[in-house]
């Protein structure tokens, strides 16, 4: 009796957050992401396309200050390519020997360059709203990648009964249904080099994959190791079970 109760307790406890996340609101349109599931991996081509979307669209307002240019090696860029990518940005360094700050091209060991000097400047340029840092955005929103994807394509004409604030847009996935970010992605906003069609939906998908990678760069390694660890516990468990059975045979 108590045993069954304990198992139910355990299962519900683990799942309670999931229930909490999904109740009340409209259901997110779930995507079949390649990184889902036990053997999930990243589609590197999609991450690279997503990086391009980030650089050309998002990076105008959103920082990613936990990511380094060197991290791009993970998604299939060579060291030389990364140097070129980094050198397109300028960072403020210093002080030099004369005690002055100076600008220099970014290096692979630098973090992604912020679009604004500080939070105040960011607010000033964005109508008082602060564009959140995107480094761990997929981990910091309920629904994760699905939420981000839906948000990006979730812009609609506001229903008649809703009065939008000044400079606000209607997006049914946002808390309060109003968002300060204008529609970021349109068909053809970004040109892809690999010939993938650049519809708004495709752009949203790719940038979501990129953000997922940025939030969880360890995902592939984690899942691979997880399979091994669980296998170990199963094998060890079988041996222990056999040992236990033999030992306890003499009791009773």
């Amino acid at each position: 009796m108590l045993r069954k109760f304990a198992i139910i307790f355990l299962v519900i406890t683990i799942n309670s957050n999931l229930f909490a996340a999904e109740s009340s609101k409209e259901k997110l349109i779930k995507q079949d992401w390649s990184f889902n599931g036990i053997t999930g991996t990243y589609d590197k081509a999609a991450i690279q396309r997503g990086l391009k979307v980030y650089q050309e669209v998002c990076a105008g307002c959103h920082s990613m200050n936990l990511i380094y240019y060197r991290d791009l090696e993970d998604i299939g860029f060579s060291k030389e390519q990364i140097k070129v990518i980094a050198s397109e940005y300028t960072v403020l360094d210093g002080p030099n020997d004369e005690g002055e700050m100076f600008e220099r091209p970014a290096r692979p060991a630098d973090k992604f360059v912020d679009p604004y000097m500080n939070a105040q400047e960011a607010r000033l340029s964005n109508n008082g709203s602060y564009p959140p840092d995107l480094s761990v955005i997929n981990k910091s929103r309920k629904g994760g990648a699905d939420y981000i994807y839906n948000l990006l394509i979730g812009y609609e004409e506001p229903p008649a009964d809703i009065v939008l604030g000044e400079g606000m847009y209607y997006n049914k996935w946002m808390d309060g249904k109003q968002i300060a970010m204008p529609t970021p992605l349109y068909d053809g906003s970004v040109d892809y080099e690999d010939g993938t069609e650049n519809t708004a939906i495709q752009l949203a998908k790719d940038v979501t994959v990129f953000l997922q990678w940025a939030a969880e760069p360890e995902l592939e390694e984690r899942k691979r190791l997880g399979v091994k660890v669980i296998l170990f516990f199963i094998i060890f468990g079988i041996f222990v079970f056999l040992s236990k059975r033999r030992l306890w045979k003499q009791i009773h």
Binding site: F9, T13, E218, V227
Partner: protein, 408 residues
């Protein structure tokens, strides 16, 4: 002086050498080798061993995290993410630690439920229960302190809300709060002292666990029948019989915890904690960790600030006196047909309180919380002391060994 020869207790001369100087070998042999366990102990008796493993794993992973973590308001969040990204296997160590905390509480709750259900807290093991509740109490404090360290939104606001509880104390409350924080709000001084305390408290727990285990070993473990061991036939040796059972339980536990660590490491975390702390913005849905949520629900069930806090601490304090509330001579609920169901209802009620504690305190949730509080105290303070007067128990077996004979 007489040239006395060292006694030869063991074949191995190295063991003998140590034993003569420090009788640790015979101690280990007595407490973990030949220690008699009631042979009808079921897998619920493995949760003590699981807890020991949890504690050791938490301490090890914690020490390593402390090597890479920076307790400063400007760097705490970033250094946590640095652990996740740049330190080799840092993500693994952090996920072990964060999910380990949740599982530590799951296991501790099951351990406590077992103790309540089978009456392990009764004579002669009352001190054990006291030490156990004390450990549980320090665990909650440690978990709360640890939760503030990543310095995300939830960390910051949990610290703010919990420390503000103290400000409800009349006259000296504000002073105590400021003294706790070392600042007027939660700030760098707070983070530094929380880190220091979070580092040291687990070692206090470790010490109390030592006493807890030593105390169990004085009168031996309880068992599902709740009758004391009478003859050697009732028991098995800890080694190897219980050890192999505990190890099997650990394997099952290992599979479950690995599934969470590797495939859903943030299932039991709050998403808002991946947003850096911002003293100017409170997140819309501020919730405590699930393992503290039942007490949070009790806190919010009362419309008065001080009243809620008093009731919350009373809910923990009442646990300490349970051994003196239950006057029934029967230990195990298996032999108390009515009380058994009330007991299970108490567990369910505690769980519902936890669920409610993570929901907004309005409407149906507030009602549920209030009913939950009434049953929580009603069960412990009214039902438990008087139940045995009305209840007719099932007849107990004479000895543990007899149970096995009957089965055959």
């Amino acid at each position: 002086m007489q040239d006395k020869k060292e006694p030869k207790k063991y074949k191995n001369s190295f063991l003998n050498w140590i034993e003569y100087r420090l009788p640790i070998i015979s101690y280990l042999e007595k407490e973990y080798g030949d220690y008699p366990m009631p042979k009808n102990a079921n897998y619920f008796w493995s949760f003590g061993a699981l807890l020991t493993i949890c504690l050791v794993v938490m301490i090890i992973s914690g020490i390593f995290l402390a090597m890479y973590y920076t307790p400063h308001v400007d760097m705490a969040f970033e250094s946590t993410e640095r652990i996740m990204r740049d330190v080799s296997f840092g993500w693994l160590i952090r996920y072990i630690h964060s999910n380990g905390a949740s599982f530590f509480f799951i296991v501790v709750y099951i351990h406590m439920i077992r103790s309540l259900y089978y009456g392990s807290f009764k004579y002669p093991r009352e001190l054990n229960w006291l030490l156990g509740v004390f450990i549980y109490f320090i665990m909650m404090a440690t978990a709360f302190l640890g939760y503030t360290l990543p310095w995300g939104q939830m960390s910051y606001w949990a610290a703010t809300v919990i420390t503000n509880l103290f400000s409800a104390i009349p006259f000296v409350g504000e002073g105590i709060k400021t003294w706790l924080l070392g600042d007027y709000t939660v700030g760098n001084a707070t983070l530094n002292r929380f880190f220091a305390l979070h580092y040291v408290l687990p070692f206090v727990i470790f010490g109390v666990v030592g006493l807890h285990v030593a105390a169990v070993h004085v009168h031996g473990s309880n068992n599902p029948a709740g009758i004391e061991v009478k003859e050697p036939e009732d028991t098995v040796k800890f080694y190897p019989y219980m050890l192999v059972k505990d190890t099997l339980a650990f394997c099952v536990f290992g599979i479950i915890i690995s599934a969470v660590i590797f495939f859903g490491p943030n299932l039991m975390a709050e998403v808002d904690n991946y947003i850096p702390a911002d003293p100017m913005v409170t997140p819309a849905h501020i919730v405590p960790n699930w393992y503290l949520a039942p007490f949070y629900a009790i806190l919010r069930a009362v419309p008065d600030k001080l009243g809620g806090i008093v009731l919350m601490f009373a809910a923990i304090a009442v646990l300490f006196i349970i051994p003196w509330l239950d006057n029934s001579k029967i230990k195990s609920c298996s032999f108390r047909p009515l009380y058994k169901w009330l007991m299970i209802l108490f567990f369910v009620n505690f769980f519902i309180l936890g669920y409610v504690g993570m929901k907004p305190a309005t409407g149906i949730y507030l009602l549920l919380a209030r009913l939950g509080v009434i049953y929580y105290f009603g069960f412990l303070l009214v039902i438990t002391p008087f139940m045995h007067r009305f209840e007719k128990n099932i007849i107990l077996p004479n000895s543990i060994h007899e149970i096995y004979k009957k089965k055959k």
